[in-house]
């Protein structure tokens, strides 16, 4: 069995009594390059997950391993490699640039820092190549100040920057939520280029399921810190099973007059039954049952390529082993493991 690129083993993050992320296990094997969308409302834990993957915060429980070694115990050189190999694109395309420097500065600094370019000329060539890859004309973008570029151009430059560092994983936290709808497609297109052409897996954090549907291979749905449904983008978005996912998908405003908003999924007022053990969604769930309050439903393998944390979908009765999630979703190269789940 190959060593996973990155592995979350029962990772939880708590702030006092607040559970930001509850025991999530996920494995991404080397040699796989899916785009994994992580979706959910504010407070679902999606940005906590991004911060954990980027090493900005440490888990309260469980362990994150990078290349088989615990993240918390990486040595100086390994940590440096991790910093280069796991790159990020953030939400705010304004805040990441220093307004006093030309945009080139933000792209050249990391090349110097990590010793990736031997000369200014080589750095320049790398810059131009990366720009072209994300669909920007170097002559229109390089040498400009941040305020002279659109949010979409600035965000694509960030993708270009990440690309030059030859990352092994990209974490994109709401990369298009602050830019105009007409420019989003271009930024998402550049992320897909990075993924397809350079084989870089992407964790795409978003609250926008329409974009997740269009670029992601796999979608994870979080609700109040817990994974409630995960599977292929087609399965989760075209036929959602968890009542929360159904509500979420039913609330997407599709630009289509034939698909009316919230046709089948009423928004229930929270009735206060969410304290204590059990499913956190039961207070808003139209199908909540007695058992939903008694204990947390385990993840069930609902069908091939999908897991759901809901008693309604526990027909086979076989609780799903969280550590096998990756195999089930095709994230892991080790396919044998996923077969044993059947």
């Amino acid at each position: 069995m190959s060593v996973p690129l990155i592995e979350l083993d029962g990772v939880a993050k708590r702030y006092g009594k607040t559970v930001a992320l509850d025991r999530l296990s996920l494995r991404l094997d080397a040699g796989r390059a899916p785009i994994i969308a992580v979706a959910g409302e504010s407070g679902s834990g999606k940005t906590t997950l991004a911060s954990l993957l980027l090493g900005f915060i440490e888990p309260s429980e469980g362990e994150i391993r990078y290349g088989g070694a615990p993240l918390a115990k990486l040595g100086r050189a390994e940590k440096r490699a991790y910093r280069r190999e796991v790159q990020a694109v953030f939400q705010d395309p304004f805040a990441v640039y220093n307004p006093f420097y030309r945009v080139d500065h933000a792209l050249i600094e990391p090349l110097k820092l990590f010793g990736l370019a031997r000369s200014t000329k080589q750095a320049r060539a790398m810059l131009e190549e990366a720009c072209a890859r994300v669909g920007l004309h170097p002559e229109d973008t390089l040498g400009r100040f941040p305020h002279q570029l659109s949010g979409g151009q600035r965000q694509r430059l960030m993708v270009a920057r990440a690309m030059m560092l030859k990352p092994r994983l990209l974490v994109a936290d709401e990369p298009v939520s602050m830019i105009d709808a007409s420019l989003r497609a271009l930024v998402l297109g550049s992320l897909r280029t990075l993924n397809r052409e350079l084989g870089v897996p992407i964790v795409y954090i978003t609250h926008d399921l329409t974009t997740a549907y269009h670029i992601a291979d796999i979608v994870l749905i979080l609700y109040r810190g817990r994974l409630v449904e995960a599977g292929s983008a087609e399965a989760v978005i075209e036929a959602p099973q968890h009542p929360y996912t159904r509500l979420l998908v039913g609330s997407i405003p599709w630009p289509d007059l034939a698909i009316s908003w919230g046709r089948d999924e009423p928004i229930l007022k929270e009735d206060g039954r969410t304290i204590g053990a059990g499913c956190a969604f039961r207070g808003r769930c139209p199908q909540a049952m007695e058992s939903c309050g008694a204990a947390l439903p385990p993840l069930h393998a609902a069908d091939r390529g999908r897991v759901v944390r809901c008693f309604l979908h526990a027909q086979d009765g076989a609780a799903f082993d969280m550590t096998r999630l990756s195999g089930r979703l095709g994230l892991a190269a080790d396919q044998q493991e996923s077969e044993t789940v059947q």
Partner: protein, 327 residues
């Protein structure tokens, strides 16, 4: 209370700067009938928010309305003196801004903020009646009456946004202007807030303008849609006309850039940059990004035509070609 909706004619807003005049809104005309919902979409800098701010006289200097009228019944919103405008806000026109939840005063209870609205408009009622109206206003946006005793920080973003809608609707305005009211909210909360706003608007028959850049949200909410580009309305029609058969090349590209359920994995962006309003290109402002620009587009600015009745677009190509269906 509501009288005939809103009628805007030739609205022009200029920002006077040292580098010259910036025409942020350049001759916008549109109507919104009683009980009707008009959407205005466009990129940042297209003039959509400036249009809204002009209608409630909240433009900041150096921004100034230099021409046009905006009538709600007998009142021209652009001609009101500041004191009169202050009375007409909430009563005639309510503005629900982007991130409205941040406009609540953090040190006052929600109830106090409702009371201030009454006091500012000389609505003097007995205590029991005031309480009743606050309770009813909160109930109309599906909040418990005990929310009145809470401070803004005790509410979620969606709840705060619904409080802002309740305050906006409190005095039964004839016109509601909602400027990206849900841009910071997740889809479920967004739907809940928009459903609340829509129900309230239907109940009072107010005219409503929704400003935004999300075509999906527009499709689900408005009756008619105007597309703005570089300070001008380049297309206006019913929501069905504009999203199913857009006529202006910019509107066509905008509609095509939206992800759809039926076309997974297809991403169409609009190449190029929105022009700076300081240095607008000659002719049609969209011509440098337009794939079908002809010579005339570089010289002459197209006007909104009336060839298809109420579905109007400003493009020279439409003079001699049939409207193309968006694929």
């Amino acid at each position: 209370m509501t009288a005939g909706g809103l009628s805007v004619r030739d609205l022009a807003v200029v920002y006077r700067t040292d580098d010259g005049d910036v025409h942020a809104v350049d001759g916008a005309s549109f109507d919104v009938g009683t009980g009707e919902r008009l959407g205005i979409v466009g990129e940042s800098g297209s003039g959509k928010t400036t249009t809204a701010l002009a209608l409630i006289q909240m433009l900041r200097p150096p921004g100034r309305v230099i021409a046009g009228t905006a009538r709600v019944g007998e009142v021209d919103l652009l001609r009101l003196a500041p004191a009169a405008m202050r009375r007409h806000r909430l009563q005639t026109v309510s503005y629900i801004p982007q991130g409205a939840m941040n406009s609540l005063n953090p040190v006052l209870t929600i109830g106090r903020q409702f009371r201030n609205a009454f006091a500012d408009h000389d609505v003097h009622l007995p205590e029991s009646a005031i309480r009743g109206r606050i309770g009813a206003a909160l109930a109309a946006v599906e909040l418990d009456s005990n929310v009145a005793a809470l401070y803004p920080h005790e509410l979620s973003g969606g709840m705060k946004q619904r409080v802002c809608i309740a305050i906006g609707m409190l005095l039964g305005p004839a016109l509601i202007i909602a400027d990206e009211p849900t841009s910071a909210l997740d889809v479920v909360t967004q739907r809940q807030v928009m459903e609340t706003l829509g129900r309230q608007q239907q109940a009072t028959g107010a005219a409503l303008i929704l400003i935004g850049h999300d075509i999906g949200l527009m499709a689900q909410f408005v009756d008619r849609l105007a597309v703005m580009y570089a300070g001008r309305i380049v297309e206006i029609g019913t929501i069905r006309e504009v999203i199913e058969t857009p006529r202006h090349p910019y509107a066509q590209a905008l509609v095509a850039s939206v992800p759809r359920l039926a076309r997974r994995g297809e991403l169409h962006g609009i190449a190029g940059v929105t022009p700076s309003l300081r240095r607008l290109p000659e002719g049609c402002a969209f011509h440098p990004r337009c794939t079908r620009a002809i010579d005339r587009c570089r010289r002459e600015r197209p006007a909104l035509d009336g060839a298809l009745g109420d579905h109007r677009a400003a493009c020279h190509l439409l003079a001699d070609t049939m409207p193309e269906r968006a694929a």
